[in-house]
């Protein structure tokens, strides 16, 4: 499978480049996103002042636009960041946090999708369905239960992801019990991760920041880089859960051990834990 053949190169590219990645984030998860960027081998810059995002983003290897905070100047900062990345040809990922949860948020999303071409879009199934169809059953920032991927529904979700990726000329990454990473031609199903990760805030945001590092250092191989990242991150969650069990910890420990595991992740560890399947 291509993703397992080129994962070594994907990790190496990160190590060689140590990409500076720009994140427009939100204050709930920004610290964790910056630390996850570092844990993955990148260097974060989290500037969000609209008057400086163009200077900052154009000097970086790529950007992550996290829609968690839409107040004040954020919409303008997101727009400028997306456009400058499109102009200089760097990867730019969208995390449509809470898409569907409020009219204001949906209007911001609509605007971003019209003005910017995203290299990749990552969200839970409810968020991605809203990106595609302006409909979802979610409340707040969590996916609606009825939307979640299972062995029964995964085929439909893969098909949906590929079609949306084709229509939007992007990579679609859907987080859930089974993760899906798809472009128009190909999709990977990933069975890494642990349910306890959903009891820590920002595990989705952190994955988006991790993807920012993997995509920025691998612009010519983004689908596989995204699949490696999603699988490695999920496996890091499994390792973290094991440590929580060993130490009789809880959700606070899980958050720390997840960061630890990603900061120690390399290709050998990834290949040991990866559960990736190509959809046919």
């Amino acid at each position: 499978m291509k993703v397992l053949e080129c994962s070594g190169e994907i990790f190496e590219n990160i190590q060689k480049m140590a990409p500076v990645v720009h994140n427009i984030s939100n204050y709930i998860t920004a610290t964790d996103c910056a630390n996850m960027t570092l844990a993955c081998g990148g260097s974060p810059t989290m500037a969000d002042d609209p008057e400086e995002v163009e200077d900052i983003a154009s000097a970086c290897a790529g950007s992550v636009i996290n829609m968690g905070n839409t107040a004040g100047h954020y919409q303008e900062s997101m727009l400028r960041t997306g456009k400058i990345n499109n102009k200089v040809g760097h990867p730019v990922l969208l995390d449509p946090v809470g898409a569907g949860a409020a009219k204001r948020r949906n209007a911001v999303l609509e605007n971003l999708l019209q003005e910017i071409h995203f290299s990749a879009i990552r969200g839970n199934i409810s968020e991605i369905k809203f990106v595609g169809d302006k409909s979802s059953g979610a409340k707040g920032v969590d996916a609606a239960d009825e939307d979640l991927a299972s062995e029964d529904t995964i085929e439909g979700i893969v098909k949906y992801a590929k079609a949306l990726a084709a229509r939007m000329e992007t990579i679609i990454i859907i987080s859930g019990p089974i993760d899906v990473v798809a472009d128009a031609e190909k999709a990977y199903m990933i069975r890494n991760g642990h349910p306890m990760m959903s009891r820590v805030t920002g595990t989705g945001c952190m994955l988006s920041s991790a993807l920012g590092v993997f995509l920025s250092a691998n612009p010519d191989n983004m689908l596989e880089a995204a699949a490696v990242c999603v699988s490695a991150y999920g496996y890091a969650g499994e390792l973290a859960y094991e440590k929580v069990q060993e130490t009789k910890g809880g959700t606070g420990s899980l958050r720390m051990y997840l960061m630890d595991a990603m900061s120690n992740m390399d290709n050998k560890c990834f290949l040991h834990g990866a559960k990736i399947e190509e959809a046919v």
Copy 2:
């Protein structure tokens, strides 16, 4: 004592409902508040854009308004959040962070108290005294030493809390060496917690977010739900302190172990550690 008889139901209601709780927070403690909401069995949404708080809050089971950040759009977001909760009849708690510390902050507080009926108000004794009397001896966000509850002063504090609860038709929760939870009719004194908790930022804010979960899932039994929450949280602090001693840790560890202990808290653990007394 009523609180110990119904604590099982209080925990069960949280587990059944897994309430989505809306927090207007501040960027110093927001990550910890969101994680504490999750640790308690709720699901957080931290949206603060005034243009979306009404959509968000009305879809949630309750809201917590943390006055830590008064800049820019926050006052407007707090007002809208409080009003919509009053309109739909959901619990809304106020944490008057730093009340008394600055004229601007006091004006925001005054405005909130005039426009919104709060289901509960939680603060340290200096903050609560300012809510009640516009006077306190505090500097910054910590309580003034001369105000703190002790065995000598607790009777007066309980009386004060009950009178203020009666006047404002609310539940008053005063954090300190001895915590007080009171409505007009009844008051609980709680002797859980550990002094080291005051060396971690946001331990008050996190308790307010925890209360958001307990109140939102128990709207018909809010006084007892608040008492259970305050006692469980304090006991979690004791358990965290024990782990800090075992591991020769410090304040960083305490913060993590506090989250761990709340994420593992259930009625059995609570009953084991609760030190609650009804004031007569």
Copy 3:
């Protein structure tokens, strides 16, 4: 050496005063900065509303102005905070985060330097060079590699720091593989710390907040207080790294153990680990 002779008094002054320190911070590192302030024996207030910073800052023992966030009202808050500290004669430290990275940020910096007399300025070598000469090779918030202190370049850096300190009538603190703390007359070179600290976000910001505590409690002996703080903080990083090795942790653990080590630091521990040399 003076710094080792008076370190006991420096720690004692903090313990006696438990200074309330005001921080204008940024939402990426604010939680860690507040917790570091507490870990060092101070009490943080992080208010940034321009309408209240004067009330807040004038009631504190000193302020730290962290330039990490320049958006919206922050510039105004920084200016007012600096001026009120100058007026009441309290220590005020500048952390010129990302100086040189964007035109907007540089303009904010220029304005701050014109309007405020800073008691101390702390940054990496690239940031400090920009403060001094409006030139540096940095990208984002990390120092450019060619600028970093080494045994070959340290002499020039010390000279630069002393000259800049003389010109700006301040204390210059340069973080790097070898830290430099200098005023016009004297400079200390400090060889504490561990390279892994640069893989945790906010280790620079946290040091600035720690310095806020040490300077606020020792206004008559700021150069030595700064040197003790920088060395103690670096040694805390070494102790944290050792614990990461023991527990097979990663960058998440390092962040927590750094906080732990600073919260347990005292003069005895400091004297055990300090690697300070006076430049001649």
